[in-house]
Symmetry: C2
Subunit: 169 residues, 2 copies
Amino acid sequence: MAPPPSIVVSPFVSLIVRILTFVCLLISLIVLTTATGTASNSDYGDIKIKFKDFRAFRYLCAATVIGLVYTLLQTVLTIIHVSTGNRFGGDGLVYIDFYGDKVVSYIVATGAAASFGMTQDLKNMVDIEGLGISHFIRTTDAAASLCLLGFLFVAISSIFSSFALPKRS
Amino acid sequence: MAPPPSIVVSPFVSLIVRILTFVCLLISLIVLTTATGTASNSDYGDIKIKFKDFRAFRYLCAATVIGLVYTLLQTVLTIIHVSTGNRFGGDGLVYIDFYGDKVVSYIVATGAAASFGMTQDLKNMVDIEGLGISHFIRTTDAAASLCLLGFLFVAISSIFSSFALPKRS
């Protein structure tokens, strides 16, 4: 099987993928941070719950923030590339793109996975309807789903930045 | 910043990383599948629990199995490469390595993350000492940690397979 000819990804396509990543992660963060619920328990009465009460959601929050900051920086660099035609920082920065995309894609993927891992079993173990937190869990699941979608776009960026690595001898 | 000169990774180094991945994932799978606990509850009496009772652990199990099968295949191909000096399948297969390593590393990373996401909050929400499943949770945490270590090695393989992509024009 012959390898396909050299694939050069247009900076405009890269920019669109970065913007889609940013939008998904931003909505994910907004949905997560505004999610609230009230757990009703016969022993303790009503308890207000937020995403901060769960380690998995705190990790999801950190993952989306890291993803957002990184994507914003990359979006600005890509806009400079598209508008001026010159890659800011030259060829040396392709390694930073390559490792950055790799690491951030793992962080975002594990953020979504940790949240899903927690909520899927929470639904089985605890009577969340009885506790009155089923709406809260559905909202956080939506945030994790958006983070997962954001991850897919970071993974695409990561493939692009691998293709952009300089010539091998 | 000038890019570093072309990095050619020895197939022998690739082989060692593949073997380390395989060992970590195999021990993780053994630890996970042999983990058992007995939950004691005043309402239901003693209930035997296994990893299959939790969605997050079932996903971890699937992730390690996928990682093991893929790593075994890659180890065999790398052994052929090291012993004959020729890359089985030629240059065309570098794309399969590249995408394979990428996808498998995400699967293994999310497997570990889903398990940790579940157990970290389980410890907070449920009195696991009182239920008598703290030993079970510690064992599954060990399996997830080994899976995470395996992921680091797959991620290294993924970096190597990105460097092995053919020349760009």
